[in-house]
Point group: C2
Chain length 163, copies 2
């Protein structure tokens, strides 16, 4: 995965948290996802397809997920419920949407988001893809964005279309 593809996701995440949630994220050092590590308790997942295929994961601590939902809805959920999963799905949708607009030459479109909940769930990418993780800290707790993206070669597209 090309390093220059990471920056749009990093910038988009910081911008969406700032403008939509009024939450300042402090970025840590991006690293390659390596081996199986549990995600935080709530993870939004969305697919990208076009001249590159990808997946974006926004994973948050329970506290960060509840606080993000509170910031959007002006009401604090008492548990991880449908409001929280809708909020986190919408956040990953907007983060991916903003980033893809900055990667216009890849002509990507987004799928529907899904939101994974559960302590110690793991999200694995295909082994031929090396996703990059961008850790952030915030007043609400930890937030990490993981992006795995690979360019689709023309021949592969033709083969995939033949299914």
């Amino acid at each position: 995965m090309k390093v220059e593809y990471i920056n749009p996701f990093l910038v988009s995440t910081i911008s969406v948290f700032d403008t939509m949630l009024n939450c300042k994220l402090e970025r840590g050092v991006p690293y390659l996802k390596n081996g199986t590590q549990p995600q935080h308790e709530v993870s939004g997942v969305i697919g990208l397809s076009g001249k590159a295929q990808g997946t974006v994961v926004l994973t948050l601590s329970r506290e960060a997920a509840l606080s993000a939902t509170e910031a959007l809805l002006q009401e604090r959920p008492t548990e991880i419920n449908g409001d929280v999963t809708d909020a986190i799905g919408e956040l990953v949708n907007i983060i991916a949407g903003n980033a893809k607009a900055k990667l216009e030459h890849l002509d990507m479109s987004v799928s529907l988001p899904t939101v994974i909940t559960g302590k110690n769930h793991c999200i694995e990418f295909p082994s031929k893809v090396t996703p990059i993780c961008i850790p952030f800290t915030s007043a609400w707790g930890d937030v990490t964005v993981e992006v795995g993206l690979r360019e689709v070669k023309a021949a592969v597209t033709v083969a995939a279309e033949a299914h």
Copy 2:
């Protein structure tokens, strides 16, 4: 979600398990996903985008995931490892690829698969989408396919592009 969109996923799942894994699936009665229910222990997730946006989830019991990997690799994994997540990611990729070919008018392409592992993880779709679950039984244990799909209106596409 239109009911006629379900059949290609149902047929594709049965066909892929039969031809690639030599495993006969017996289908149960499809139902609307309603509320939060934990998935089986291993779930492959892939996004679809085009004139419809969607997500397909293939969720399997631990035993079914291990047996499916054994059928593909001719060697039984001793635990849920990278071979298993690669195998389940590839299965959901092929199931979604075959189904989208039968829904040609929706002009969809697939994203990268991811695979979720962990006991009692839940996968939530956006509340505006009602995913349909297709349960299957097999000699290996339970397998369920969940499909959430919604058509993208032209105006929505333009708005999304404006991000």
